[in-house]
Amino acid sequence: MGDRGMVIVGAGEAGVRAAFALRERGYQGTVTLIGDEPHLPYERPPLSKAGEEAETVRAIVANERFAEAGITFLRGQRAISLDPARHALLLEAGETLSYERLLLATGAAPRQFPGIATSDRIHVLRTVEDASAIRRQMREDGRLAILGGGFIGLELAAMGRKLGTAITLFEAQPRVLMRGVPEKLALALQARHVAEGVELLCGVGIETIADGESGVAIGFADGRQIKADALVVGIGAEPNTRLAAEAGLAIDNGIAVDRHLATSDPHIFAAGDCCSFPVAAYGGRRVRLESWRNAQEQGSVAAANMLGEAAPFDAVPWFWSDQYDLTLQVAGLSDGATSTVGRTLSPEAEILFHLDADGRLLAASGLGRGGAVARDIRLAEMLIARGTCPDRAALADPSVKLKSLL
């Protein structure tokens, strides 16, 4: 390959993993990693979970590893335009980088509530600065409102309660985690939040949000009003596609990539939260995932394909959430499931298997304390990847090792 080098836009999990994977695969040319934050690359999952340790930012890799691996890390720099015909990327500082292959790992940006700007009292969560600002609102005598019963909202609610903050969480849908988590487990999580003292309002529509010096007032469609010191908006994220879209790359709920993570330009790849991709295990259905493991695995596969391999990305979607001492793990996509089989590991740990009409395992969701459900979810992931139709009685019986069904 002869050779203008490899350029990676975005220094989150996907971008960093790709940079190191290029070296692990023996690539000798230049590797440039561009991150628009002023920090070393850091892990985002702890930002909504860490509790007392939130001040400690966990780096993805130690600083010296960039020099050791010969990776040029451009920190606090933004790529502003891309010219695919010239293989050129323009940085905000004025520099133009040329590339042999380019990886877009630009991530996603939190969705804002329409018409409401962030302020000292209205927050979203993506960066370490966002996390610090939210944490400052988690005082023992404080009251924090959280809009959105997704993972970010629920994890922050758990963190707030741990720090003694009064929490009101509202969700427009009839229950939390409507997307991707079965009702039974979502309701179990809801019950735990209520038991921990969270004021939980589901199925409520917001009419007004008023941001003033003395706090935030949220008015609901039914006339109720809630006042809080601050509000966190946790209503999802939008993929960062501007650079790709302006360069004419195909966009479809994110930067559209094929099963090798190549965009509509064969010299440009995309990985992580910013891209949508076909999932082999589900008939090539196109999805976009915002998950830590997906970002890592796609970064790794993208690096291989930037070097000319034709490695398909065929991982089964997997994600987790920590709330209080509970961990939720989900493997697979349950859309299309026609039946569910439950497996009770203990009074506090349960797994639900989702099967289609042919008995094929599509997804498994588990909730339990600590690592209680992890092993079975991991094995379920393997069963899903292999397209198996496991015996329902065996799935339901906790004394049958799932490993024996592989």
Partner: protein, 104 residues
């Protein structure tokens, strides 16, 4: 001085599986390989404070239950992202049907 600590009966660990063992304020993971050999490592993953006994053993590999970091439990070697720090391993012997690990 190294001492041998009695962990359990060998049949308390299934083949290709792992159990947690706590002793003197420390926690260990004790493994039985598919070839019926026994091994021991520190109990917690080097990436985050998660116990490996909840993880999955496949051949020589223990996979962390949290983030799927992989280690060779026989050597302690970290097998790549997200784990980069090796696990400490401990000598194990089986005597009279009991499993012992050497600590200290």
């Amino acid at each position: 001085m190294s001492i041998w600590i009695d962990v359990c009966d060998k049949d308390e660990i299934d083949e290709e599986d792992v159990i947690r063992f706590d002793h003197d304020g420390k926690s260990y993971a004790v493994y039985r390989s598919p070839e019926d050999s026994f091994h021991a490592t520190d109990g917690h993953c080097t990436h985050e404070n998660v116990h490996l006994a909840d993880g999955l053993v496949m051949d020589d590999i223990i996979e962390c239950p949290k983030h799927n970091g992989r280690f060779n439990y026989k050597t302690g070697q970290a097998k790549g992202a997200p784990v980069c720090v090796n696990l400490k391993t401990y000598a194990v012997k089986v005597d009279g049907g009991r499993v012992f690990i050497q600590v200290g």
